[in-house]
Homo-oligomer: 338 residues x 4
């Protein structure tokens, strides 16, 4: 059960509700958002059912929740959420494309990528300044220098910037440069990081964990939202299975499922999802047809020379073809790139 | 390496090639198809490279093969295969829909299903007369009686019939009634069954095994083709993963991958692939967008009363809506239902 | 619910029970074993609960079953089953070791293997005469010639022979030569094959499918037992997971679980389970400690030259060391090699 | 390639090596441990092979590394590492048992658990003060109050304390109370956390991630060690597979594999690994037989009332029986509890 307070509810009204709940032994989780407070009630639901909470001053509504996430669910909010990233809208009738190299490798490589991406019609430039790497000895990214290059590319092209935050310490500096924060797969259950970005006002792109269930993924989004940041976009990027032909198994049924369960926008990353550039175009089309609100695509000016993930990166030519291909499928799904 | 003999090659010419190969210790696999013989050469490739086989009488061509399947691969045949099932074409610019209940439960249920399916525009009626069941005590199908009902439905509607052969013994009787034989997931590596249907002239729908790799699946098709039956259609139906929200994880990247590797048509079964009727429509759209040549869909006059798989079956109304929805995506993919 | 008839029950008594069940619409599955008949009752349990079946002539007992397999379960039979293979006992306090090469490659290779295996103290010689292979062009085994070599090895050493039946057609000839029939992983749900071996009186070694659940595996055993052959031994051989370091993931918790759920003996195959010879010894020890009744081990006179699975085969020296190592762990588990 | 400096090497000697490497464009990763510095060399190995680094002052040895982790590997250190936790040794001939409840729920529950654990012969008390939970609304642990209770239990019993650090912020306070830091599965690739504990001098228990490969797991250990903390103990706790009978699939082959690849001690957690208390004893025996150096077991005074993981917790009685059972298997493996 969650109790949604009115935006104008006073501290006193909130306290009275909390006191009421405490009298019957119920614990609460307070989400004090920028506009209003949400009370997640923890404990035996039978007690609350008998109390006239909804009639108390300052209470907007009570929402019974049958799943363990609340703010994320369509039970809580029926209409689709549209996330506004500096004027670019994600969700609803808007199709968003985020493209760029896996990692920011140099100023030249990134600016060149940005131009390609912009020209082909994407709205976001992606590129890692901080890279989470399996080995401590692998290239860990250009860090702040990478962020500066990303910001320069934004200035030159008008593209929005989405880039990964790999830990709590870098959230603040990434917020200074980026338009949208990406939480990577390995960090999907880094709860401290989720809570930290939940306290910012930056939109968050939340990638599904390598072997996360849909339930765990939506709960990760709930961690962010329970801190007051409701601008969450989900990203399906493939799960770990026995199949070795593809790097991961892109789970498009999770896109359709998440759309049913949650009001949040969801995009698809077929580059990591398949690990093979020749599968990126068909899986991009399929993702949109499954109901996704956008794509995240790896593009590199010269994939053969990429420091990471070259095998799954599109050439500029192939990216341009892809952008044309998806336009008509997007149209059928009632979405436009804009 | 495979050696393709000319259709008009004589037994004597074939023998001379075989003798030649034997002199350097190479073993062979003979595929004596109805129109011509194919020699799969097993052993050290260096020997054959030095022999003037291609110049021998009766030899059409030699095809070097870099994967362990041969007849299945695009290296062997570049153009898309179109399988003709009594006039209904599968592959190329043709979109095929096979629909019907999981199992033939009764004459009434099946004839009613057939009408729904026909009216909505599908070309094939599906329905199990023989059911492979995890437990020996579960309903195993109406068997021959079920086949008779399927045949009656064909007469009444003109729909083609696709139904499963669960073992070698029933191949002959199923051939008497059905237009197309289905090999189920559990039997994907039942090599005797594969070889048996490979010796018939019936088109075969080969479902991917529960946890088969793409490589194993294509090799299963190779078993059928190596016996001379080239009318094989692949069917992706979901793989087994850790995710429990869906019954299986529909692997659409395998559709795109199989299209690249092989010339065979491929269809998608989103009903078994997801196990949830509400995901069937989005995954049908996604399957076609990924490049599939058709769909296999469970439809039941009354899903709530189905003896099996009711949870994943569409109602007649939802199936009709689905058929309309896929038409436009098929159009973009250059395919038409007909 | 299952109804167990007395060994001396007459046909007339059986018919009366069946008629009684039919009057309330219950269907049955008859298991007419060599010594007695078992009636598996299918349908609404409430009807049977109210009928005085247990009081009818010829009925020994009624066993309520809460899982979908019946004869396999400890609910049906509490004491451990001991399977007698020509005097060698499997189960209870007996530890059995089955060893030998993956495939019978030649008379010399097999006789040499048999000697090694015998000398080190194993009771069974394993070796494939029929090999189920992913590719139709791979070595498919020496077939009958292989069976003859196995029989010769038995004569020379006194070892029992366990070898795979890959299809229904070869069951009869394999029964002529082997002491125990092996059902391989790919055939675990080849129900026709299960039923066919269920009609023989040969003990059966049932390998777990590549991605079979414990429930499916026990149901496969039920298929065999429901045809009257109760001499079934389970074999855990690794399941398919995302981990690529090992060929499969040996699931020893399935051994402990199957021991709890079922009365059947169970052995472990660490050779296929890991795919790496250096892990065979530790996993053999672990398997016995988990409660297994025996091991199936690949041993080859010269693993580097094996036609298949050389990487996972032990040398004669390492096999001899292994046999010594497991003796003391077997002792702690109350088992002896004999 | 890694370069190990002598303990007495001066800053100047180190600088000269670094300069040398820089002249040919090689990058380095410096691990400045408490006793000596290790240089991980990144880049083209051919350059370094031609340089007389080993002859330079201050250099102890150069170690070529064929895997992507270095300090973790047996190539770097052949003999087994023994980790000393306040006098209790882990590794080598020592068998360690860490036991206690999943979470610290109350002072009474924990002190009672500690007594049970101590009496049965374990050396470590486990118990979560900080709990990483899928849902933000689930019980998150007693936090500092929980740590205080753990410390009190140590005083009363002499048991060592191992407890989880869930984020960077709590590392310092957990270090104040605990003898050993646990990194949980969800945080196995929380690289910032790994580096933070790598900078402490506390021994670290590193659980394998839910779907981590052995390679990723060892690289996670490398992250810790590359910061100078060499006191790492690995913990296998089950991986995510399709099997639903057990909570996870305990991968004991990973224990045997890690023992071969790495010199680090490794323990097994059969409680999380199986999720079923009745499988804990057989899998504990199996783990030790596979070569593990110890166990982590959930024990609760009253499992039926546990706030979390009651289903997988042993009763005091069953834990006592388990401790007796493992003694003899430990003996065979050359290990003693002490």
């Amino acid at each position: 059960m969650i109790i949604v307070m009115k935006p104008e509810a006073t501290k006193q009204q909130l306290d009275r509700v909390l006191t009421k709940l405490a009298t019957v032994g119920l614990k609460v989780h307070l989400s004090e958002g920028s506009t209003r407070t949400i009370i997640g009630v923890i404990g035996d639901k039978r007690f609350i059912a008998q109390m006239p909470i909804e009639a108390m001053d300052g209470v907007e509504k009570m929402v019974p929740v049958t799943v363990d996430y609340k703010l994320v669910s369509r039970e809580f909010k029926q209409e689709n959420t549209i996330v506004d990233v500096g004027g670019v809208l994600i969700g609803g009738s808007h199709l968003v494309v985020m493209a760029g190299p896996c990692a920011v490798e140099s100023r030249e490589q990134l600016l060149q990528s940005a131009e390609i991406v912009k020209k082909a019609g994407a709205q976001f430039l992606r590129g890692g300044a901080y890279k989470p790497r399996t080995s401590p000895y692998a290239f860990q990214g250009l860090e702040v220098q990478g962020l500066e290059i990303l910001a320069e590319a934004r200035e030159k092209t008008g593209l929005k910037i989405v880039t990964e935050v790999v830990d709590v310490d870098s959230v603040s500096v990434v917020c200074d440069y980026a338009d949208m924060l990406q939480i990577g797969s390995r960090n999907m259950q880094n709860f401290q990081l989720l809570k930290t970005v939940g306290k910012t006002n930056k939109p968050v792109l939340l990638k599904r964990g390598l072997s996360a269930t849909i339930n765990e993924w939506l709960n990760a989004a709930e961690y962010i939202m329970s801190e007051g940041n409701y601008n969450v976009v989900l990203c399906e990027r493939g799960i770990r299975t026995y199949e070795e032909y593809t790097r991961n198994t892109l789970d498009l049924s999770a896109v359709a499922a998440a759309k049913n369960i949650s009001h949040l926008p969801i995009i698809v990353d077929p580059s990591h999802g398949t690990g093979r550039w020749e599968l990126v175009a068909p899986m991009s089309r399929a993702g949109i047809a499954a109901g996704a609100d956008g794509l995240m695509i790896e593009v590199h000016p010269n994939p053969a020379e990429a420091l990471s993930d070259g095998k799954q990166s599109l050439t500029p030519e192939n990216f341009t073809i892809l952008m044309q291909e998806i336009t008509s499928i997007a149209g059928i799904m009632g979405k436009t790139l804009a």
